[in-house]
Amino acid sequence: MSGRLFDKVWERHLVAAPDGEPPLLYIDLHLVHEVTSPQAFEGLEMAGRQVRRPDLTVATMDHDVPTVNPLGPISDPLAAEQIARLRKNCAAHGITLHPLGSAEQGIVHVIGPQLGLTQPGMTVVCGDSHTSTHGAFGALAFGIGTTEVEHVLATQTLRQTKPAAMAVTVDGDLPSGVTAKDLVLGIIARLGTGGGTGSVIEYRGSAIRALDMEGRMTVCNMSIEAGARAGMIAPDDTTFAFLEGRKHSPKGADWERALDDWRSLVTDEGAVFDSEVRIDAASLRPTITWGTNPAQSVSIDGAVPDPDSLGTAAERHAAQRALEYMGLRPGTAIRDIGVDTVFIGSCTNGRLADLRAAADVVRGRKVSPSVRAIVVPGSARVKAEAEAEGLDAVFAAAGFEWRSAGCSMCLGMNGDILSPRERSASTSNRNFEGRQGPGGRTHLVSPAVAAATAITGRFAVPADLEGAR
């Protein structure tokens, strides 16, 4: 029988499929953070229920933690209360917590893979839409709301109507200077913000296989920006090499057993998808968003589009509003747009490989005097590893601020925000109105483009800087 990767993972987690109810799916790993969990714990306690599997639940603090002086008093009383609640709830229910200041604290989607908690064939959920990141390991991973968080805490299961399976196949070689971030922005531009709704995407093809795990995580991370329930990539030797020896990875004979099992987690030859999109890797370019959703993007060589040139009335209307909000005029060359702030970090591009890519660009150069540039490692471990390589010194010498781990400027709730009309080049995942602070104007880019842009003060790719060190 020819099955799809998604079906294989789905079927092995079916607990019950009662008539007239959506199937009940077992959850192997539940990641918890301070923002979407307090109401769930409260609901549990009000109903007199327990956490069924604290051993399959792992918590950390990321969304509203300060990234400057993280161990000092938290000046925002509401954030302090949320963080204190998480501490209290984890203690009360016996849940492992990686709190602020500990070696493994960080953005949920960075620490899961880093600890080896995310493994092929698992189901992973978290009260956060970018849980899709974990699909890079061949796990079925998706974001849930707080009522569902409570449901998973109480039952370790979730009710899910089975999504459709979509294939996004990217064949060929990415041109030099084109990264996983550009690849996924290209995919989202093709699918549109709602193109993946109701589907789990399997990313396939030689360009996907060629990505390292960090790149695969960047791609799966942004599946939700095309509306998809989840994104998945079949595990292979790249995956196994990443996992071997991590804290929670199987050891000894278990490692061999696990490998045997994981190798079966591929879509069989001849399997048919509910829908399929093909993209030629060679056609992709470094990509920058110009609008207020992640599908509104253009190549670095391009210009701000003219809304009148767009296909449907709804698209024209949306583009007009977006340009008004972004303070951009149609026809402006992307390289002529100046930025005020550069943010390198987030669960999309806050891993060690991302910081290395950015550091390679800024090494020996100086941030433009008109730019505020910050680097926020995705986890305390990423920070420590980067410091061991001297990346902090590279960034500091160039004029970047080197921060502590957290979501930081990705979402504008923790003090790291844009001012109204301030323009950023950001390696995060959402350019919605106000995402990085009320009135802020966000352009999504790769770490390499963010770094080059910090140097020139306008959108640039590393190749634009040649000789200017």
Partner: protein, 204 residues
């Protein structure tokens, strides 16, 4: 969760597609640890525009929100649903909804009525002509009705979601009926799967 079989009331129209949850409730509001009190934050950035639909006098009594496609995209924050409910909305009508938003809505008892583009356009027209019109969202019959305009159109709502809304059922309670199946499943899980036990409360 309270049962809902039918929502009747005034409606607010926001003719935009891809309304994301960062607009519905900006992140600055997510620091609350309660499920209530989010109403003042609903669309707070857009409400600074005096012409925004939610600022119309009739809006404060509205029960139904009509919006463009892909409503609720973006962040998984259920706070978006709580903010809509706290403001007074009991149903949203749109041509399509983002998956997580729809799941959150059903879990919290907010009706997500998926109507055709034509129906939603017709509602925009009706509400532009008569902002006071009473709109009915009939969950049992899966129909949206505006009697004053002679509008009666079907909407889609999955059977299970409809049943839960009508019964006002606690999903956890339903699931715990399968406690034996969950325990059987747990007994069969491979031993190598990761576990964080014993709980490590690493102190900083």
């Amino acid at each position: 969760m309270r049962a809902v079989s039918r929502v009747d009331g005034r409606a607010v129209a926001i003719d935009r597609r891809d309304i994301d949850t960062d607009q519905i409730i900006p992140a600055a509001w997510l620091k609350r640890v309660e499920r209530t009190g989010f109403g003042p934050g609903l669309f707070s950035a857009w409400r600074s525009d005096p012409d925004f639909a939610l600022n119309a006098p009739a809006a404060s009594e509205a029960r139904v929100l009509v919006a463009g496609a892909n409503f609720g995209c973006g962040s998984s924050r259920e706070h978006a649903v709580w903010a809509l409910q706290d403001f007074g909305f009991e149903a949203v009508i749109a041509p399509s909804f983002a998956d997580i938003f729809r799941g959150n809505s059903i879990g919290a008892g907010l009706v997500t009525a998926q109507a055709s583009e034509e129906t939603v356009r017709a509602l925009f027209t009706v509400l532009a002509d008569d902002p006071q019109a009473t709109v009915t969202v009939d969950v049992a019959e899966r129909m949206v009705l505006v009697p004053s305009a002679g509008l009666a159109e079907p909407f889609a709502l999955p059977d299970y979601a409809r049943w839960r809304l009508l019964e006002g059922l606690d999903d956890i309670g339903i699931t715990l009926r399968h406690a034996d199946a969950i325990a059987d499943f747990e007994a069969r899980r491979p031993a190598w799967l990761p576990s964080s036990a014993p709980a490590a409360h690493i102190s900083a």
